[in-house]
Every structure is written in structure tokens, then in C-alpha cells.
Symmetry: D2
Subunit: 455 residues, 4 copies
């Protein structure tokens, strides 16, 4: 692989670390934090080289190294063996550079403010406060900006027809002035931004936001596209999901795999909570006409697991990008009115109640996975919470380093479910495999990291 | 067709016409000027609906009408039966609106300042002054901006592989900070802007220029893409071509048909003039690997008609977008140095000598076409001038209203050429037909509007 | 005097003259135009050195010279023996540089477009169109900007108490967001801008406009303060006055001399015209408490010459800057509503009718002055028109080169008035002399350039 | 006094407090913090009403109250009985509003981050880190901005001649592009900003910085001028002084009283430290010609107490504003070079060593004042440190609430000095009294809050 060494000075005001803060990330001072930082940097630098096989990525980039050069005038980053694709004319592409320093900013902040002992066992409202503070520190909270953040969810591994459709939806959203927020990887996380950007040009809109929200565990597998002009690293997947729903004003879901299922279950679980029934959160499932079956299946799974009430919470629109966008547009106007009526902020959805069960980090050990209650004897929102965790664990087993290691050591995760549920779950997951949504297509055949079994 | 009526008030400062100027464009006061204005408006409003069959376009939009509503506070445009595709949420797409008023600006200016009797028979230097004044009035001359305008030429009717490649080249140019200037229609005129725009986002570049230069005769067939953020209407094709070469710092040619051949011959003809041999004007022919033969043929045609010296004036780069861009980048650095050394402006290439033969409008009547000297008994630059006119006439016969009428009345144009040349010319033109470069593919078979014959 | 030589390149886009235009201003090509240009440059460069004795100024700056250096890349100005006060750290103060190029812009434009033979004998509406075109070319017409231009008139020669008060009024206007427009010389033309600028800082207003409108005949005696960020040179005093009333939304008059009297008579004369009686033009006379008598006298003179109706057109507010500003603020809100109701522009008062008698240049020869009809046997607006001319002539005799020469050759101007009027006029003019409002105080005693006599 | 009630929503992004943070400042939750906040608000709102008699100010504003209204969409401030001078057209002057929220920002930040137990006993480098963090949080550290912050020190109580001169120096600094940083009260803290602002307008400079650094103890007596566009509240006088010297690139001292003496002694004490001798910190004492004696006396006092070496650290320039500015300009160019050579930041002077003795808060109790070692038996930098504390105590006794209370309870502070020093100190202080520099002139005679006595 073509690589270069480079000494990078920061953009904007991000470089004004104290000397202490810069020390933090030295290889020698804190190898764990350093390791995390190196890995995030690598992901950012590899953007465009779509790849979700983390071990390959890491192996290929083994000689890569990053070092913080402490200087009173601000931290410099010394890169060794960085992928040359991040550079043009010997200059780092500006969007990549900004993302690099966003990573630096968030990792230092999270370390300084959140990982203190007093922050170890947080309660629900404290977690929400943390999320607010991280977003505020990342300057992602813009008071009084009209609600127009559309969160786009969907798979990183989608086919060309689906990808083209995500661009079209992004385009139509862009024509209507919407900002785009995604998980910032490839596929359905990239397409809407590209489409929106062409539309924003036509509308002469220059203050567009392309917000990418990631987390250390997934960033390597979902390297942030440099079109993202606001990259935010949340501490874990649960806080990442909460950031999405606190920031977003409308939600559009494209076809995807277990990650997308996790996102759907997360949001439905929250919206099903009795304290949230009055809150407007427009949610649209959409895809090209080839995806009609896909969404029928998802819809069916939701009906059978969470019930009819859950089905009322979303619309399915097939092959009509302009309708998706105009519905999202109209809905966000209503969100604006509701926020004003409730004296809630535009920039952070304080009113939304999120149960601690959706907030506390779920660590996908084999024990935790095995203990998930996948039974119909629970309220729909509890069911959603547990299914969400199951999906989260499978994502980890597929593409996250921790999960992959667990599975390598102990074999596939074993989920225990009601007889009734087993079948539905297996069918859904199996369809993801068949449609190559679990991982990006490669020469290796996908090996499931899970088993679903009865009690 | 879906249409709407709308009353449009202007963007920017373009709306401050005097009452007199606004009167000019009333249907009643000057039917010719009004007609021209209506047609240009229509073209702008139809952007995106790629179509080069002017009669169809006009027929379909027959009920369309535009009226200038004079008000002291500025002119308003009242549109009747305008294509609804130009609107989103009942608002005109901003880029289209800007283009509409750019048309208004240029038509009024050209009328006021250039069509006076004293401007009827202009000499060479006066023509260049006119071009300067139109560009200055359109605020297209930006002093001291570093040379980085890349003019991209190529067909409006190209295949998907070629189109994708033009986007890739645009992307690589954008990464290097280049502005894009094209004829502002579809195909090779749109692709580079789209590609560049994605790259500009990644480089956080917000002052990019996407310059579209058109002329009344062609605009209907090459409706300006609203990504164009500077639309300029020149009075005729010769002034349009001169505007390209006075503004541009590097020239990239993609595959195309007779229009592209006209552009190539125009530029080569000028560069072959003894007074221009020292001037740096980087010129690159490029396309995907499937275009290799195409450019071999063009190269061959040039060699045989203009000679080896002409071949020295360009590079052919096949299937290497990044090389095209980095060569263009390096070359514009040298252009910058040369301009400074010669005390020439960055914003207007005053030094370039253009023979009057390339400047005086060529009207494609049958007589003028028949009289063209297509013989080897002339200097290469004269040969280029005459071949350029021949190509220009064929473009008119294909897609311009005047040419189409002439051909309908008098049959195909008859070009008379040296025996030697006939064959080469026919082969070239024939290949354009075969590759569907003459017109956008449609259900009608292309009927040649020309005949090449011996003396 | 301390002087420097300097080669100045232009700011903004003003430097893109054609080679032809640059030639225009060469000493050799048109000595009259060159002379005018040199004199305006000198005035701009001398800003701050308050002085209204033109011959002294010219004598002192005799060695000063300016030359346009023609280069394709734009015109440069070569200055010889320029006052060093215009430079800091060897760089010209930016505001002065902008003013220099504004002078260049307007002189070239006026020459190119207005001094053609066809523009020699203009009718009323044509004159208004010209004014519109000059202002548009100077980019002084900003569509849709909320009405807030306050024109401040008053003497260039005022005492420190009055000067301080003009700053206070400017400050209060600035707090309310008003733009300031003056004749751009010292005294009452400078104070309001300084005051407003401090207030604009406190209000964090950064798009303030400090518009200075001058004319070639007076600019030498009223050198533009570099706080003026939009300097406009109109062709003569009548067009300058019309520019004020077409641009302004509210009018504040401070104490002054004959120039101020001219302005008051001009505006009252127009407002008295039957076609203008419905138009809102807020007009306030104001000064510190020491000026109470002064305005009583003016008020009295108006009553006796133009009648009670004229007195209804203004308010006199003594020593209450905040009241002046809040009244101006409220009045401009009403102007905004009226403009909208009448479909008139915010940026140009098209509705205002101005009689040709107020528009045609009045040349202060002795014959013209002697022929002025200063008799009560005329309508108030005619009376205002003639008194305005008389004042205009006296201004010329005091500080304009043409007038001074006339008076030097032929002795004082002789005005012929009704017995009744003689006394009033003399008293008024005499009070201006006593209060040192005719010229800036100097070691020379003021010698009247006029005589008022009976029929 | 004229007062109004008003509900104020925030400017910029300052309003996005967490609900917790907003709670902090409720009257009920923390009366001490609330009290501090109320007092700072009052100071900000009273800007312009120059007054340093805190008890009067407080008495007059007794009915004033401020309440934070917690709303999810951001904190609002409800003001009761606020001085109406802060409003125009029922809207708060924007600069005052910004200052209000700057106060809010800093008080919350200081509370949250600095007043934790772990921050109670900070060591030298920790204090510097704190200062860096407060300034960073206030966005006052702007990396890579060219060094041009001129710190202007001098009295709040100066005479009109001196005040006019501070404006002139500010004007000349502004012409050279300098930013101004002061203690943000009246007198010498306001004049330079006003002057600079006029010059910045002439130089078309719009990104000027007028930085005001205050602290809770003094802010009531030195209400921040709303021209200050960056208001920063440091926790105490020592941190405020350190902020000045870490941020500033050049230092200009105008005539003043004990506060100014404190500032001079602070800076000289630091510069005399052996570790700082190589650091460039341009320091100029200046005033109108009437101040010549004043500075001779200061110079003499320095010579006699700190020695000749200290005299080498500053220049005295009398009555030459332009020389002051051009010397400051040249010196900051050298500072820029030195910072680059030493790899130090432009935005924070990390290299400067500050002894803990200058950093630890000095609390002006009678015991602490009495214990100060004012003897010649110490190194010049120690002597400076102790004299600085003495001056600081007297400032407190004059205008700070804490000091005034101490003196009211225990009588004047008693300073014990070497026989030799007594005389010099008394003479200096006495001259401050005579020249009315201790407090703003009022109807009360100044009563010294100190006694100087021998051992």
C-alpha cells in the first residue's frame, strides 16, 4: 500500500490543547487511550477505502503510527505510513484533517470529563446530560436553527440500486434544505450526503450540516466519509444512538442489516414508551422498488414482535424519493411547532424519555447475550430493548473488534428465545445473510456469529 | 406536462433595472428581444429535462409565457405554465432563479451596449473589448484570483461510461481546488461540475466557481444545469468561444461530436498562430479506456489536416483522471508564473492573439457553407478556421433553430473539399453519427444535415 | 509638507478597467478629465487636513501628481508627492485607497455614459434615470434593505459644541441601526458618522453604511472622511442633491451656512410641490441648546419666504439627541410601510416628483445670479427653487473654484430682490458670517462674495 | 432611576446550559454564587454610568433582580428593575447582552471546573493551566492570529486631557491593526478602544478584538464598556493579571493610580525574574505632555525601589501617540519572530515564568497587609511582588467591597516599611490622591485607606 509520513498542524481552534492534554495521548503515557486514538485516526485516514474487515484493515496498516508532538503553540500530529489516498498534492484533504482533529477533540474530552470515577455509574438523567455536554463541546448544538436534521439510517453494505436510491432521497431532502445526519460510514450513510450536497449547490445553500456520529468500537469498520463536516465520536453505541434521537428531527431508514435493525428497534422501543406517545418523531422506511419485499418483511417482524401499535409509528414509502422528502419536510415543520409549544429546544430533544434500559452500555459477552430475555411475556418496549441488544451483539460479532474476539474464543453467541420467536428471528437474520447485508461482500463466505435456540 | 404559474422577485442586485430597461423586454415593445428572452428562460427552467430536440421542447412548452412586471421596487417575472420541475415546495430552486436573472442581465446588457449601430461592424480589438465588458458586467472577472479555471469541453450526448469518467476528472480537479467552466449543458458539461462539487466539499472549499457560458442560439438545446453558479450568455458562438479562451487557464476535452470538434479546431487554430506560440495554454484530451480509439481518430484527423505541429499542442491521457488533474494543476501553476512575468491579468488572457477570422460571426447559410475553403493549400491556422466553421454549421444544422430551418428549406449543407480531405472528413463525421454523438439518442434516426463533396 | 511617492494597486473589482478606459485618464489624452481626476484624488488624499481654502490647498500640493499605469492586469495608480498623512507603515490607509478608486470608478463612468452628446440636454425623467444608473453602478442601490438611511446635513464649519452634538445624534441613530449619509466633508458631515460608528460597535452591527455623496466642484473643499465606506461622486450639485433625496429615508439638519440653507430650500421646495404632498419625508432640524436661536431664525426665514405650509414639513428639536433619533427611527418605519403600500422601492425614491427647475444645473455666472427672480410674486416652490440657486451661487463664490474665479474677475455677485426680501436675506447671510459658517475660521477675514440689492 | 423589566434570551451559543448548570445560579440554590452573578450583571447593565462608589451603585440598584428562567430550549434571563439605559427601542443593546451572557458563561465555568475541592490549592503550573482553560473556554485563544494584542493599562479616573490622549493612542494603534485589551472599565480602559474603533473603520478592519478582562471583585466599580466585544471574567485579580500578560503582545501604560501601579509592579516583577530576561515584552509608559512629571515620578520610584535594571524594561514616550503606536507595532513584529523561534504560541505566552508569589491570591486583610515585607533587603523581583500586594490592598480598600468592609471595621491598613521606603511610598500615594487618581472625583473627599509606618 502506498503510504506517506506527514506532520499535520490543526485546523480551527481544535489545536489548543493544554500541554497536559497533549501528554494524555502519548503512546507512553496511556497505552489504552493511545491505542484507541491510533485506531480512530486510521479509520479517518482510510475513508473511501470501503472495507469492514477490521483485521485486514489493521494488518494492512500495521506500520501506521501517529504521535502527538507537543508544542506550546499547539499540538501537531506526526503521522507515519499514513495511507497516501488521504493526500492530494502532498497536502492532506481538508475534510480528513478536520475529522482527525475532531477525533482528537472528542477523545480528549471524553477522557477528561467522562471517564472520571464519578462518571462510572451514571443514572439516566446523568447520561443524557453527558450526551448534551459532549455534543455542546463538539459545537453540534446550534440554538434556534430551524429543525431540519434528517437522520438517515441504513446498511453500510447495500447494493448499487439501493445506493443510488439513497442518493436520490438525499438529493430531494437537500432541495428542501435538510441537513443530513448518519453513522458516517459507507453505503446508506454516504449516499444521502452526496445527493444532498448536489441539491444544496442548486439551492445555493452553504451552511449545510453533514453530521456523522460514530463510536470507537465501530469507527474502524465505518470509516467517516470526508463529506461529513461535523464528525462526533460518542463513547459507546448506546450514547451514539441517544445522540441520534436527541439531535434528529426526522428519521429515514434505508435497507440494511443487523445494525439497521438495532436502530429501528431502539427508536421504536423509545417511542412505544407511554411517556413519549405525544412526541412527534417522523419515521419513514424507504427503498427502491426492489426493496418492497425487504420492508414488508421488516414490517411483518415488527408486527409480530412489537405489535400493531409499533406499526403506527412509521410509514413505508417505496420508490418515491420526492415523497419521502416532502413528507419529512412537512413533518419537521410540525416538529418545530411542537417544540415551540412545549418550550423545548430545537437543538436537543429534552422531552423524549429514554429508559435506562436503552442507555446503559450492553457489553456483548456470551453470558450477556445468553441472558437476554427474548420472550413475548413482556411489554413491547421491553421486547424492543432486548431485541435491540441482541442485534447489537450480532453487529459486534460481525465487525467490532471486541465481538469478533469473543466469538473467536467462545464460538457463536447463543440467543435463547421463545419457540415462537426463534423462527421469526432466524428468518430475518437469514435474509440479511442472503442479501449480503451482514458484511461487505468479499471472497470469504459469511459465517454467522450467532445461534438462536429455544429455552 | 406539469406546469405552474409563479411571480418571481429577483435575487441579489440584478433586479434593479431602470424602468426603461424593464420596458425593453415587454412582449409589445420588441418582439424579437422578447422572443429571445422567452426562449432563454424556457431553457433555464427546463434544466434537467435533458433534450436537444428544440422543436419538441418548444412545442411541448408552447403555452409557456414570461412577462416582466415593472415596479419601481424592481422588476418581477411573471411566469405562466412554467415547468413544475423548477420548483420545490412552491419555491423556485434558487440556482434556477439566479440563472433566470443572469439571462435577464445579459440580454439587457447586450441589447443596451452592444447592439447599437456603432457596434455593428466591430474590428478585432473591439470585439475583444466587448467580451471583456460583458464578462465584467456579469462580475465574472475576479482580479488576483489564482489561475485555476479549467474549461471542460466535450459532448452533450455521451454514454454512461464517458459521463462517469467526466465526473471522476471533475472530482480530481476539485480536490486540487480547480474551478470548472463549461458550455453548461448536459453530458460532459455537467459531469465535471458534479464531480468537482463533491471534492470541493471534502476540501471545505466554498468559493468554487462553476461557470457556464452559453449563447442564445444553443441555450435551448443545452439548458444550463443549476449547479452552474455563474451563467453568462454571450451574443454568439464566436464570442462564446473567445470568452472560454480568455477566461480559462487549462483546457480538458472529453469525447464529443461536432461541437467538440469545433472547440478543438478553434483553440488549435489560435494556438497555431505565430504570435501565440509562446503562450502557455495547457490542453488535454481525455476519456475512459473505451475512448482510446476515439481520441486516436481525432489525433489522426488533426495530424492529417493541421499537421504535426498541431499535435504538439495537446496531450492525450486515457483513463487516468488523477493524472489529468495533476497535470492540469501543474500547468496552471506555470500559467500563473507566465502571466505574472508578462504582466498579464489572471482574470483575462489579453496576450492571446485571435485572428479576426475566428472572431467574426459565421452565419451558416448554404452559401456560406458552400464557400468554405476546405483545401490543403492554406496555412494550418487558416485550415483550422475553415474547418471550425464547417463544424459550427453542422452543429447549427443539428440543434440550432436557424440551422434547422435552413436545412429544412434547402436540404443538407454542401461542403466542398479537396478530394484528399473528403474522405477524412466523412470518416470523422460518420463516426460521430455511429457513436450517437450528433444528437441525444432518441426514437428518430439521425439524418445528416450535410454532404461533403469534391470540387 | 511631508510627501511620499507610491504605486497603488486597486482594491476590490474596481481595477478592471479596459485598456481604453485607462487611457482616458492619461494626462496627455484628455487634460480636462485628467485635471478633474487629479483634483479629486488630491481631495481624498488630504482627508483629515480640514481646509476649505482651495487655492491654498492646491498651491501647497502643486507638486502632487497622479498617473494611471496601464497594465493588462488592471490599472495601477502612480502617485507623486502624495501627502504622507494618507499612509501608515508605508501602506495607504485602506479607506483612503477605496475612496481613490471610487473616484476613478465614477469619473470613468460619468465620462463614458453621461457626457456623450446625446446626454447633453436631458429632460427631467432622463436626469433621474442617470442618477439611478450612477448609483447602481456604484453599487449604492441595495434592494430590500430596510429603510434606514439618515441623511445628515449641516455645515462644514461648525463650532466644537455643535460638532460634539452631531456626534451624539449620530450615536443615537447608530444605536437604532441607522445608516448615515452626508456630503462627506468635515464638521456636521463627519460627526454623525463617528458617533454612529461607536454605537454600531455596541450594537455589533457590521454592515453599516457611511455614504458620502460629493461632486467634483466641492470635493476639494470637503475632502471625504475615510470613515465613509461608500463614496459617490455625482456630476454636479443638482444631481448630488437629487441623489440625497432619492436615497435617503430620513433627513436631519444641523446648523450650517449657505450650503445647508441650499439643502433645506431644495428639499422644502420639492416637498411643497403639489404632487409630493402625500410623500413621507421626515425632516428634523436639530442642534445643541446653544443653537436654539439659530434655528428660530431659520424657521422665521422659512415662514416669511415660503410660508406656514413649509413650516409644517419639519420639526425642530433642540438639545435632545435621543429624541431626534427615536423620531427618525419611528418615521422611517412609516416610510417603509408607505413604500410597500405604494409599491415603491426601498432603495430609490421613484415616487418623489422633482421639477426640472431643481434638476437643471445652475451655473453661477454673474448674469445667472443677477437674473434670479427673488420676489414674493411666485409660488412657494418656485421661490424655494430660486432661493436655492442663490445660495448655491454663494457657496460657489465662497469655496468652489469656478465661483471664486468669477468673483475675482467680476466682483461680488449681485442678487436683486424685492425690497421686502432684501432685509431678510441680508440678515440671514450676515448671521452666517458672524457665526463663521461661511468658511472655516482662518487668519483671513471673510469677504462676502455677494451683494443683495433692490430692483 | 429609570428602570425596566425584561426577559432576555441569549445570543450565540452561550445559552445552551444544561438544566443543571442553569439551576446553579438560582437564588435559592446557591446564594453566594447567585449574589456574585447578580452583582456582575448589574455592573454590565450600568455600563456608561461611570461610577466607582460601589455602595452607592448597589444602593441605587437595590430593587434590581435577575433570575435564570430554565427552559429546555436554553436559559433566559428575567431582569427586574434593570437600568433603562441598557435598552434602545425596548431592545437590550446587543453588546450589553453579549457581555451579560459572557458573565454567565464564565461564572458557570469557573464554578464547575475550578472551584472543586481538588482545585483549591493549586500549584504554579496548575494555575497557569486554569487560566489557559478559562481563556480557551471563553474562545479568547485564537491560534495563528498574528500577534497584535496591545494591553492598555491606566487609571479609571483620569482627566479629560489624559482621556483624549488615550483615544489618540488607540487611534494610532488601530491604524496599525492592533487589537486592544484592557481592564474594561472607564477612563484609560475605554479611551483606547474608542480611538482604535475609528481607525479600524478607516482601515476597513472588521475582525478587531476589544478584549476586556475583569474579575468579580472589581467589576462593579469598573463596569465593562459595551465596545468590549470579548468580556472575560477571571476568578481573582492575580489570575486577571496573569491573563493580561499571557495574552498580550505589547503593553502600554497611561497615567493611573494604585491599580496602575499594581499592574506596573506586577509586570516588572515578572520581567526581572532571571528566567524571563530573554523574553520580549514591549512596555511603554505614555501620556500627554501634561503627564511628563507624573511619569518622571513613577520612573523615579521604580529606580529607587527596583533599581536601574527595572528601568531598562520600559520606554517613556511623552505626547507622541503615533510614536507609541509605531514602536508597539515594530515590537510586536519582533515578538512574533521570537515566538516562532522558540516554538511558542502566538495566542498564549507559555514561556513566561511567573513565580507562585505573583500567582497565589493575596487577600487584603489587615494582618496580611501588615505582614508585607517592604524592605530593601530583598531581590528586586521580591520587592516588586510585595509592593504589588500593597498596591492591590489599597485598591481593595478604595473600591472593592471586601476591602471597604475591612477598612470600615478595622480602620486604615497599616503598612510597615523601611524608613527609607516610607517616604517614597507616601509621596507616590499622596500624589495619586492629589491628582484625584484614587477614585473618581465626587463630592466626598478621599479618605486614605492606608497608613505607612516604620518598623
Amino acid at each position: 500500500m502506498d503510504t506517506v509520513d506527514a506532520l499535520i498542524s490543526a485546523q480551527g481552534s481544535l489545536d489548543i490543547l493544554t500541554l497536559e492534554e497533549a501528554q494524555l495521548l502519548q503512546k507512553s503515557s496511556n497505552s489504552e487511550l493511545y491505542h484507541l486514538f491510533r485506531q480512530c485516526c486510521l479509520a479517518v485516514l482510510n475513508c473511501g477505502n470501503d472495507e469492514d474487515d477490521i483485521s485486514r484493515l489493521l494488518a494492512r496498516n500495521e506500520p501506521f503510527d501517529v504521535e502527538i508532538v507537543c508544542q506550546p503553540r499547539g499540538a501537531l500530529l506526526q503521522l507515519y505510513n499514513a495511507p497516501s489516498s488521504a493526500f492530494v498534492n502532498d497536502e492532506m484533504i481538508l475534510g480528513i484533517k478536520e475529522s482527525l482533529f475532531a477525533v482528537l477533540r472528542d477523545i480528549v474530552y471524553i477522557h477528561n470529563h467522562l471517564l472520571e470515577p464519578s462518571n462510572k455509574n451514571l443514572k439516566s438523567s446523568e447520561i443524557t446530560n453527558l450526551i448534551f455536554e459532549i455534543l455542546r463541546h463538539a459545537q453540534a448544538l446550534i440554538p434556534r436553527r430551524h429543525p431540519k436534521i434528517t437522520v438517515c439510517w441504513g446498511g453500510h453494505s447495500i447494493n448499487p440500486v439501493e445506493y443510488k436510491y439513497t442518493k436520490k432521497v438525499g438529493y430531494e431532502l437537500g432541495l428542501r434544505g435538510h441537513d443530513i445526519c448518519t453513522g458516517c460510514g459507507p453505503g446508506a450513510m454516504k449516499g444521502p450526503m452526496k445527493g444532498a450536497h448536489i441539491a444544496h449547490a442548486k439551492q445555493r445553500c452553504q451552511d449545510f450540516r453533514y453530521i456523522g456520529i460514530s463510536e470507537p468500537g465501530i469507527i474502524a469498520a465505518e470509516s467517516p466519509n470526508p463529506m461529513v463536516n461535523e464528525l462526533i465520536i460518542m463513547p459507546d453505541i448506546e450514547k451514539r444512538l441517544e445522540a441520534f434521537v436527541r439531535l434528529g428531527h426526522a428519521f429515514v431508514v434505508f435497507p440494511g442489516g443487523v445494525g439497521t435493525a438495532e436502530e429501528i428497534l431502539y427508536l421504536l422501543g423509545i417511542l412505544l414508551h407511554p411517556r413519549n406517545t405525544h412526541i412527534k418523531m417522523p419515521l419513514i422506511f424507504t427503498g427502491p422498488k426492489e426493496s418492497a419485499d425487504y420492508f414488508a418483511q421488516i414490517d411483518n417482524f415488527i408486527a409480530e414482535t412489537l405489535g400493531n401499535q409499533a406499526q403506527q409509528l412509521y410509514d413505508i414509502i417505496i420508490d418515491d424519493a420526492s415523497k419521502v422528502a416532502s413528507q419529512a419536510y412537512k413533518a419537521t415543520q410540525e416538529v418545530a411547532i411542537q417544540r415551540q409549544d412545549m418550550d423545548d429546544a430545537f437543538h436537543f430533544n429534552w422531552q423524549l424519555h429514554i429508559d435506562e434500559d436503552f442507555q446503559q452500555p450492553f457489553v456483548p459477552t456470551h453470558a450477556n447475550m445468553a441472558n437476554l430475555c427474548l420472550s413475548k411475556n413482556q411489554s413491547p418496549d421491553k421486547m424492543a430493548a432486548n431485541l435491540r441488544k441482541a442485534m447489537s451483539g450480532i453487529v459486534a460479532g460481525n465487525v467490532k473488534q471486541f465481538g469478533i474476539q469473543q466469538v473467536r474464543q467462545h464460538g457463536p453467541y447463543r440467543l435463547t428465545a421463545d419457540a415462537d420467536l426463534i423462527d421469526k428471528l432466524e428468518k430475518l437474520l437469514h435474509s440479511f445473510i442472503e442479501q449480503q447485508r451482514m458484511k461487505l461482500p468479499s471472497d470469504k463466505t459469511y459465517e454467522p456469529c450467532y445461534l438462536v435456540q429455544g429455552h
